[in-house]
Amino acid sequence: MENFIKISTDFSPTPGARYRTDGPFSGQEFYEKILQKKFKDSLRSGLKLEIDLDGTFGFATSFLSEAFNRLAMEFGSAIVWDHVKIISNEEPYLIDEIREYIYDAEATH
């Protein structure tokens, strides 16, 4: 699907830490390989980017913080939040945490 990312299958079922230097499947790697490009495509098409978090072994806070904070720093918090739809049936509380990472980017810059 064009505007859809399922992290467990499109990236890894075991997402890692923040930076590439931290080890495999980092938040930085996810951002640079998948998230940034898919988000640009979504903005062009005018559709929301659906990001499915289910099916992984769990997320490190550093992974989510790096990926979504960088996305918000590049495109702006409000634009990012308006153009993504986070799916997290297994861990619904992650949706609020990601929202915080996105808006933290605006507060810190």
Binding site: R18, Y19, A60
Partner: protein, 188 residues
Amino acid sequence: MTQKRHIRFSHVFSFSIGAIVSTVCNNWTYFKFNEEINIDDLFTAVIGGAIGLYIGSKLTSKVSSDRVEKDLIIGKITSIKAKMEELTSIVETGSYQLATATKLIKYCRQSATLLKNMIEVCCGDEEIIAGNLDKITKALNRINPIVTGGLAVNGILNIDVIAIGNYNTFNKIIEDNSLLLIINVNRL
């Protein structure tokens, strides 16, 4: 299976005792029964007995279903405690696989969410119980960045003594409130 056999045995045993007592009473001259049966009294006795049995069975069934719900809740709390002990054992080494920590934290946070739903359904607005669970959930939220937020090397995360100390502070809150939660659920 054994329990069913036990119940069947106790029914047969009770019936046998009842039959023996009735026979003894009938034959013993001390008891003199009036052989005329008053239909009204018999009717009242039968209805009274039936109502008694109905109320008894309803109460037993309620107590038994409450017990099942309490056991489910306590089982969930116990499983969170077990996973937290596992997490503590790896965190205290100061160096561990990030994937192991994220997996354990995910289990605990998911279980706490499920526990919240279970408690809402089974215990309603019990403020003390909700308060215990809220403290556990908040402590888990604070533990998450401590054990998964640091820098890693090849997927191995190293945390310092201060971080371990912070972890232990929140872990103590989880331990204490888990215990209180079990006691409070049992008291309902």
